[in-house]
Amino acid sequence: MSSSTTERTHPVLFTTQTTSQLPSSKFMIPVSWKRYQLSQLINKALGLGGEVGAGYVPFDFLIRGEILRSGVSLDEWCKEKAVPEEETLEIEYFESVMPPQKMSSLPHEDWVSDVECQLPGYFLTSSYDGRIRLFNYSQNLLHTIHSHEAPATCLTLIPSTTSTSTSHIIASGSLDSSTRITKISKGEEENWNTEHLASLPLHTAPISSISSNPTGTLLLTSSWDGLVGVWDTKIPSSDEVPATSVTEGRKKRRRVQEDGEEGSGEGKRKAPVNVLKSHQGRVSKAIFASGEGEGRRAYSVGFDSSIRVWDVEIGVCVDTITASNKPFLSLSQQSSSTILASSTDRTVSLYDIRLSSSSSSLSNSPIQTFLHPNTPSCITTPSTSSNQFISGSYDGIVRLWDLRSQKSALTSFKAWSGGEGSQGAATSVPKKVLSVDWNNGEGLVGIGGEGGFEVWKVSSSTNPGSK
């Protein structure tokens, strides 16, 4: 901290959304100060401890929707943005995100298409070799489920009140348009048993996503054929759908696939509760709404550049957001009123899904747009409401964003870089990230993609005080 009296100062007003508020008075901050000094000031003012050490909480600073990068002084920032000296800057401070740390790397034989981290103590991955793998936190492969003959593209954990810590129900979809509900249960001595409970025959094209509602009573499947299937998770005692001509094809398929997998039974053939038909092209992702309208509403995105809001019970499309030329790849609900959708035009867009008072339809233009250098294939939001989300991209970089910082990500890290990823670096072709999942409670982010599966520790953004 320079104490020279000739140092120019800049009027600054500190705001925050955390509980640790500063008195709202104007501070005259020396212009040469950088993030570190500002962070020290906040710490001192809050009485958290001045020096780096116990109790010290690093802060990040958001000026006009942009993160103050470390190493950039206030003066440089003002010059860059052409802000006059006299103007009062409103700086929002929040606890900075610590640099993510790689916890473990679990290589797969094939690409990992989807990961599931919501099961405490375990990770679930679906891979292009058609298998679903169960790992525990100590990086041990506990179980492999031969779920599909074709590459598995998606999986989800169906939370169930009946499921105990030893048995879980998993739903997965595949490229061969088959969808399955599988129950795994822990037997003695780490032996896991697989039971195929049901198959969901509806789609005629590869399954793109599968998801369940928070209570685990309903399932949504989306497929390349433009359909979204709504299913309940009750396992029927007998086939609800007769094996008609489809079965014939299936038989042939069986012949094609020859002996192959251990026949664990097809499970019961379930009939869909509803089929949501409205998309003009491939549906990339369908999720249930959380928060308001929970259990009834669902959202889906597709290659027809539309985001559709569904009423699941009656099976109609309630609302549509039609973007222009944005084939959507992924979808995530940010809050009860906003959803994030990533598209192939390298953007992640934040859309308002509340009906505006003036018009009866949803606004087609996004609230905010987050630009990526390459296709953002997947996005995930923490289960608790927060301003942050994580996006994975085809350039192998996972980015942590703050909604307020539109221009640059808070932090980013490259999956499958160091260590054994060195041979990946040699090829210089970035390995695509296909799936990310964020277990907010544990602060873990699972990344699945071309290089396998990786777990990174991302410090929670929420203030300890706000918990």
Partner: protein, 752 residues
Amino acid sequence: MAKDSTKKDTKKRKARTEEEEVVEDAREDTNFPHDVGLELHSEDEGAEADEDSEGEVDEFPEIDTRSDSEDDEDEDYEGSEENDEDEEDSEEDDDEFHIFPKAKTIISDITGQPKKVYPDIEPDYDSDSSTEDVQNRVGNVPMHWYDDLPHVGYDINGKKVLRPARGDELDKFLETVDDPSAWTSAFDKTMQSDKPLTAEELDLIRRLQQHENPDSAYDPYEPTIEWFTSKGKEEVMPLSAAAEPKRRWVPSKWEKQKVMKIVRAIRQGRIVPNKPKTSSDKPTFYAIWNEEPSTHPAPLPAPKPRLPTNAESYNPPEEYLPTEEERKKWEETEKEDRERDFLPQKYSALRLVPAYDQFIQQRFQRQLDLYLAPRIQRAKLQIDPNSLIPKLPSPNSLKPFPIYKSLSITHEKGRVRSLSVSSDGAWAVSGDESGVVSLWEVIVGKEVKRWKFEGKIGSIEWCPRTDVSFFVVGIEEKLHFLIPPYTPPTVLNATLTLLAPATLPPAPANPSPVKWNSPAASSFAVEKPILTVTLPSTSGLPKQISWHRRGDYLATVSSGEGQGGVWIHQISRRHSQAPFKKIKGSVQLVLFHPSKPNFFVATQRYVRVYNLAEQKLLKTLQPGIKWISSMDVHPLGDHLIVGGYDRKLCWFDLELSDKPYKILRYHSRAIRSVHFHPTYPLFASSSDDGSIQIFHARVYNDLMTDPLIVPLKILRGHQVKEGLGVLQIKWVPRQPWLASAGADGKVGVWCS
């Protein structure tokens, strides 16, 4: 004696010349010539002249008397000077009323000679008649304007000049009685009063009344001066004593000859004294106004020179002065190209302006103008070069089109020569030269299936039908029909029944050399081709497979020499036929028209359009390309693009002409592949320079509107390997995405 007298005369005259100046005014004959120059007689002639002049002198005795008296007067002139002076004085008194100032003759103090001195002119108002003391200053206005006023005008100070009191007629009469000089006064109009006339004026009046010369100085009785005969002024004429020549009195013989010649001519009638009057001699009159006005264009008026503007001024305003760049630009441009032939320059004063160096040149040009001299003038193009660039819409308004490389997959071995995207846009297959065929997801880029064949993969093409799903791989002399995995059962069934039907269609009447083999549908496996078509041997690698839009026919072009290059295969009948018995040139490419039964065949240089139904040649397109490399037809079928190894890309409007509508030369190396997007108004071309160029190509249904071609984007990302760049490009149906296969073994997907 005469000689002596003459000498004496001249001598005297010399002496007198000075004296005469002195007495000039005093004497009546003041204008006597000062110098007559007669003393220039030559002395020898003088002797001769004496004899002649004696008689003449006698003839004019009277004149001598005056001369003599003059002589006398001259002789005692010195003494009588005083008298002269007196005379002068008296004369001055007499001529009191002279208008002009009188000159006085005094003896100069310096030279001692008499000289005339005129009285000084006093420079006051009196010195000039025009500035006489006129009290009334109203000027030349009618004085009756002042009749009713007490004054008659204003003096120089603006004060009123009061009307002088004027008596009536009785007063006037009394005045004439009282004042004897009253009758000599005249009415002054300006002063409205009588004014006595001066003596001079009275004298002038008297002279005019007596019809005398009004000039009082005029003397009508001046003595005559015998200019040439008086004493001392005689003309002495020299006369020759020579005998008169004979010709003076003998008539001229030569003249007589001439006269006789004319006389003879007259006698013979050769010279007619008066021309006989004929009718033609009558004057003829022309009604010049009756003629029709001329239809010729009026002669060109001489062009007017341009008027000078501010810039031509020697001291123009600052804004007219050229800046440094303008000056430099002006100096750099050619003389003919300059807008102005000068540069404005500023001089503070006109006297500082140097000579105008362009003057002669400009006058010359002006003369040429007036002469209407034809000169070669270079037509100046006053066109902004930017305005010649066609107004194209901004690429941003023509979105979507591919702008970035979303993903790429790698073939480890060999160049990827062939690539195809399924009709639903979800899957792509690529084949390389090592015989590997990869099936991969377009959006994820995950290779899900790989086939290995012997030999190079020449071409790959998906069947455009949507109810079946298979693609054709062309390798050496064989076409393999493959079904991708993960097809839905219904589609799989339809495909199987199409390609490996349980009951084969009846064999055609004339067996073709092409063999169709398919294993039984029951033994179908994804790894094996469901159907194999064996082309005749020596046909070589099928380098192109082209499907008909309906998906029943496909045409193949093999690289082998000979006529066996082109085959059209019909899937439903499992039959192949060669459409051409003989074809000129080696066929490069073939294409089916999307809607009509037309067939495009590209040879090395020409594109021929055949009607397959009528089996005739419709037209031959001449792209002007030395070697055609690629060709594609617009989905509507009216437009064709042809790419060549000589870097040209030709756009044909098939309705328009056999010549290209547009030739695009944007690639720096050979064009390898061109492709129209099936639904979006886009096409792309790829080249050996490693770049892919995306064009917007909007085709209008209105035949009158030309297609709009806008270059949108150059995609770079493929490496040039061994001189080969991007070998094949294919659009992804339903999405504005492009898949490209390069010689570097990479297959990329470019997303919008």
